[in-house]
Symmetry: C2
Subunit: 303 residues, 2 copies
DNA sequence: CGCAGCCGTTCGCAATATCCGAACGCGGCG
DNA sequence: CGCCGCGTTCGGATATTGCGAACGGCTGCG
């Protein structure tokens, strides 16, 4: 047997990145290293894993089937080695965390930094991306999710709640007319969220009047807010994202009596048994950090 | 993560061998390499895996628990990489075969050599040892077994039958008196088989008269035959082992009407799903090789 | 069309990792 | 006591790995 764990991890990284140079950039390695590892792994297996088209690669069917089998086996191998750190030993290995970008930028940095300082032998990988990652496929240990959970195979724990408000800029309203009741909604556009169709973004009943899909969209809340400030449409956004802009008058809240339920913020993780200690400790850390008054509540009531 | 597959395999090999030098000898490596790999692995995990007592090592509880989890995960990882060789690709990797010594020496050499020639990229590891190996722990892919199978968790396939006969040398009989009926049996000794107590070796009912355990024993059929030729007792042995000595008059068959059923010869393998292709092809090869008249039947009827 | 940019592959070289064998200390045994 | 077998450490030789440059191919743009 002449392949290594690093060969397997490189193979999976190239699959996930879709290219050798992408995987190399993520791992801070040179392209030639990644290319050579893939070639060596193919040679060890005796079958091609990728087809090459003039500087482009595409996975073979064999490669896709192989990855389906390698991921859980590798995860178990890693979990086994990490499980052997007894209850009193310090955390080791890698903790990979995914979180929505806007939430992560604002509220997770110091929380995670505190955890990292408490566990100096633990490697932390943070991925802020609003795109819902498939926990089983992407190799993340823990994710934070805003909204109702759709993947019932994951373990989850509620952290806090995230209220949303419908907003628009004064310029937008001046240009597009009044919005004084729900019957005005269909005459307006709403800025799109790239990762979710309007049907899912707009949380109220199908019978309830709704704005039209807008001609602009973005893949995170900060960008959506800025487009709304720019007068490009309504925006339905978490309060923590628009709080400052509302206070500064760049955005106004519209239809404050809309029956919008707050969204839950939860930690989720794959159902590996036994639960990896690093995951348990991190989730506990999150729960403690968000216990009581969430940060944005404190700020809003302090002004 | 700074351990490798080789670290894991070395760790498991040291556990199985019970010592660093034992594992080094099996792998044809120097002691210092194995010692350093264990130390490096312990360092990577952050916990000791072995306690050291003046040149002796003993596994910690952590080590034993870890190995229970690592073995199946590693086996799956290896099976995954070996599964990707499509139906038309040649076999690769390693096929580890265990078989009883006397049977292996006589009848398996050319069969396995033929298989190895047909699959030049496949590494073959042969272990002839009458001691029953625990397939799940020892890392063998296929085993041959003579006798009724006791491990119902293994997959198995019947190859042929192995008739046994009770024999003694003319010298033994001249010295110890006649053996003309079963009532004479308790007056005689039978040569012991190291891996099996007499209760299991003697296949007939407990009511049935039986010879006494002899003062000599061996761990394989060839040695037992030679002890019988040397006049040290009766011996109950597969026909293929004593066939030549009977023909040459060095041994005589006694009580030919004893109701001894032939023993089944089977191939066994662990229930990995999907069945590794190399195992399937090898078992098919064995079935073909032993189809029809077993080799020892042909020789006996040819004289 | 030419050019720039991006892709993956190959190559030579420097740095790093691995393996070997010798030496050492320890415990058990005769 | 000496011998043996055990595991550990060390220096040196060998093998492996990673880097960066060069290359060819393809695409998009002016």
């Amino acid at each position: 047997m002449n392949w290594s764990i690093i060969d397997i991890e490189t193979f999976l990284a190239v699959l996930d990145a879709g290219s050798i140079s992408g995987a190399a950039a993520r791992a801070d390695l040179s392209k030639s290293v990644v290319s050579k590892r893939i070639t060596d792994f193919e040679k060890a297996l005796g079958v091609p894993l990728f087809t090459r088209h003039a500087g482009r690669i595409a996975p073979t069917d064999n490669a896709l089937a192989l990855s389906e089998r390698l991921r859980p086996a590798l995860a178990e191998l890693i979990a086994a080695t990490e499980s052997v750190t007894g209850s009193e030993a310090e955390l080791r290995g890698r903790l990979a965390i995914s979180a929505p970008m806007s939430f992560g930028i604002r509220h997770l940095g110091p929380v995670i930094a505190g955890f990292a300082r408490a566990h100096p032998e633990l490697e932390i990988v943070l991925d802020y991306d609003d795109q819902i990652t498939d926990m089983g496929r992407s190799g993340f240990d823990v994710g934070l999710r805003i909204g109702h959970l759709k993947d019932s195979t994951l373990m989850s724990r509620r952290l806090c709640e995230d209220p949303r408000v419908l907003v628009a800029s004064p310029d937008y309203l001046a240009m597009h007319g009044p919005l004084t009741g729900i019957s005005d909604l269909p005459r307006h556009e709403i800025i799109g969220y790239l990762n979710v169709r309007l049907g899912e973004l707009w949380p109220l009943n199908a019978d309830f009047p709704r704005p039209r899909p807008g001609r602009v969209m973005a893949n995170n809340g900060d960008a959506m807010r800025d487009l709304a400030i720019g007068g490009l449409g309504l925006a339905l956004l978490p309060l923590f994202i628009v709080h400052d802009a509302i206070r500064e008058g760049r955005l106004g809240r519209v239809l404050p009596d809309l029956p919008l339920e707050p969204l839950p913020v939860s930690a989720v993780w794959p159902p590996i048994r036994p639960m990896p200690r690093k995951v348990r400790l991190f989730v506990d850390h999150l729960v403690n950090a968000f216990a009581g008054t969430p940060p944005w509540h404190a700020k809003m009531h302090g002004t």
